[in-house]
């Protein structure tokens, strides 16, 4: 039964085109244009991939639009049997209404999850493969993507750049070139020996490595894995809630509009504006809960960009509560949709 429900959804050409376009087409086109532009004019256009591109695509495009198209598919899955007259045929087969409803969930997820995964894989691939090979960190050109040991080794080989140009104390009597230099000419008596400089550079590099890593140009594996799971979860929530709402209302258009309003208007408002009398209601908004589970390296969804500042503008909520809220939305909307389909006169 799940296979035929999957087939029924997959054959909805318009819906499938929208899903593919948003989940795969938009990031692919965006990245392809950047690849071509960088290949043609590398000085004018930066690399197509990299950390910034990754984080902005994931948190800015795939997260929000993935939710909306998954919700649209869910609303369609929840309502088309009713609006197209198939629900009666299905009920008359004697199969329980609950089973008819529940079969829609794996069928829909079998479409949504792979599509999001394909789109995300494309983004990851381009962002890693086409990431810049050098990083401009606080005005100093550094090699990108170094591990801690690699970064320390590089610092040992470039002690003057590390000590003179990167943040940290400049040793006395060190002849630093350029505007950050200590103004001491080379050959000054008391200048540190190369071994001391190397040691001091490694110490400084170890201190600034967390800052360097935070602006890593190529997204780390852990960030990509966590981000992928996070946008998959968002898409799953969109589908399940859409399915429940579509089944509850027995139509597609109004639930889709409501889901868009929830994602684009209500969630940003309730996630960042602390309204004293509604604080617990705000904590029950699934978008806020999802924002609290967002991977640390991404720009905060709905909360402004906190990278580098460590300041979140989100309405405070513990991780445990966020998980409970998400589970409640998944279970609650499934139960509501199932209940309505089990009790509906048709």
């Amino acid at each position: 039964m799940i296979a035929t429900r999957f087939m029924e959804l997959r054959k909805r050409r318009g819906l499938m085109i929208a899903l593919v376009l948003v989940n795969i087409g938009l990031p692919t086109i965006f990245l392809a244009v950047r690849l071509v532009a960088h290949a043609v004019a590398p000085k004018s256009y930066g690399p197509a991939g990299g950390y910034d591109i990754f984080t902005n695509l994931v948190a800015g495009v795939m997260y929000v639009f993935g939710f909306i198209v998954a919700a649209t598919l869910g609303c369609a899955a929840g309502s088309v049997d009713l609006t197209e007259g198939m629900f009666r045929h299905l009920v008359v087969t004697g199969r329980s209404r609950l089973a008819i409803y529940l079969a829609r969930i794996p069928a829909g997820l079998a479409i949504v999850v792979p599509l999001v995964a394909v789109g995300f894989t494309i983004v990851c691939t381009v962002c890693v493969a086409a990431a810049p090979t050098k990083l401009n960190y606080q005005g100093v050109t550094l090699p990108a993507g170094l591990s801690r040991s690699g970064f320390l080794a590089w610092a040992g080989d470039h002690p003057v750049e590390v000590l003179c140009d990167l943040p940290g104390p400049v040793p006395a009597n060190l002849p630093c070139p350029g505007p950050n230099g200590g103004g001491v000419p080379s050959g000054t008596p008391g200048e540190p020996s190369p071994a001391v400089l190397k040691s001091l550079a490694i110490q400084n590099a170890a201190r600034i490595y967390p800052g360097y890593a935070a602006t890593f140009l190529s997204p780390s594996n852990s960030l990509m894995i966590y981000s992928g799971l996070w946008i998959e979860l968002e898409a799953v929530i969109g589908f399940i809630v859409g399915l429940g709402l579509g089944s509850l209302m027995g139509q597609r258009t109004v639930p889709v509009v409501l889901m868009i309003v929830l994602e684009l208007i209500l969630t940003p408002i309730f996630s960042t504006a602390v309204i004293a009398h509604l604080i617990n209601f705000q904590r029950g908004v699934v978008g806020l809960a999802m924002a609290h589970l967002e991977p640390g390296g991404l720009p905060l969804a709905f909360g402004g960009d906190n990278r580098g500042t460590g300041i979140s503008h989100l309405v405070p909520e513990s991780t445990a509560i966020a998980v409970v809220v998400i589970l409640a939305w998944l279970v609650g909307w499934t139960a509501l949709g199932a209940w309505r389909m089990m009790t509906r006169d048709t």
């Binding site: 429900r5 087939m7 029924e8 054959k11 045929h89 299905l90 008359v92 004697g94 006169d345 048709t346």
Partner: protein
Amino acid sequence: MSTTTLPDTSDRQAADSQWAVETHGLTKRFGANIAVNGVELLVPRGCAFGYLGPNGAGKTTLIRVLLGLTHADAGTMSLLGYPVPKRRDAALARVGAIVDEPRFHGHLSGRQNLQILAAAREPAARDRIGPSLERVGLAHRANDKVSKYSMGMRQRLGVAACLLGDPQLLILDEPMNGLDPAGMYEMRDMILSLVAEGRTVVLSSHLLDEVERTCDAVAIVDKGNIIRQGPISELLAGASLGLQVECSEPDRARVLLDGTNIGARIEVGSEGLGLTLAEGTPRDVIAEINRVLVEGGISVYRLQQVQASLESWFLQVTSRLGAPQ
């Protein structure tokens, strides 16, 4: 070594039931409106059963209640001996039904729609898709999108959907809708062949002529009540009796008959006198009419009993005839 699994008691009881459909005091209300009012319906197994009634009489509502598409407010019912809703799933596994206009996913082909419905039934239903399409004459269009089907083709597809479960009982709500004369003939033929296979067909229709030609028994429903049910031949035998009299001087003949106490409604027409005798009038009255006319000097050329049709009887017993305008 082989073992035989006996059906449980309720399955055996269901198989022993002589009624395909049985309802007692079945009631369905929509607010203050009673759509189905204490219906007592008995449909014997293995027959074609017509379910007739004027528009708004509650025909489709009763079918929806029977099939679990809406709940009953009172009463009991069973399908093929299975109490519904308690054993609704077991009952419906052996039932095929079309309710109202058959509608399907328009973006899918007829075959794909049947695949969805077959998947909701037992595994063997998948093997019946091809034969069902063949039987309703849709095999050559099975891979076309349903959105390109005519109304008649969708009706056929609805019947094909009914056949997926190899049903013992088919409930068809207006299956002739949208069919051309040839299609109606084929549908009638198919219904008769289904009955010949031992299945029960409940046919809800407003096409009285079709019902009369197809069904063995009928129930007449009006304003939510079943007002008559039984074999058509028995019901019509109890209907008012029509008599056509071709004679000389029809006007004087009318005066003569008005002076008797036979209690007939008499009309003078181009073919002579038309008499309508009340239900249950003994056949001796016909001889008495002949005697009165002959003794009155009227030449009687022809005296013919006119069998009441289902249509005329239907109009007599429902509120459509004699109701205050």
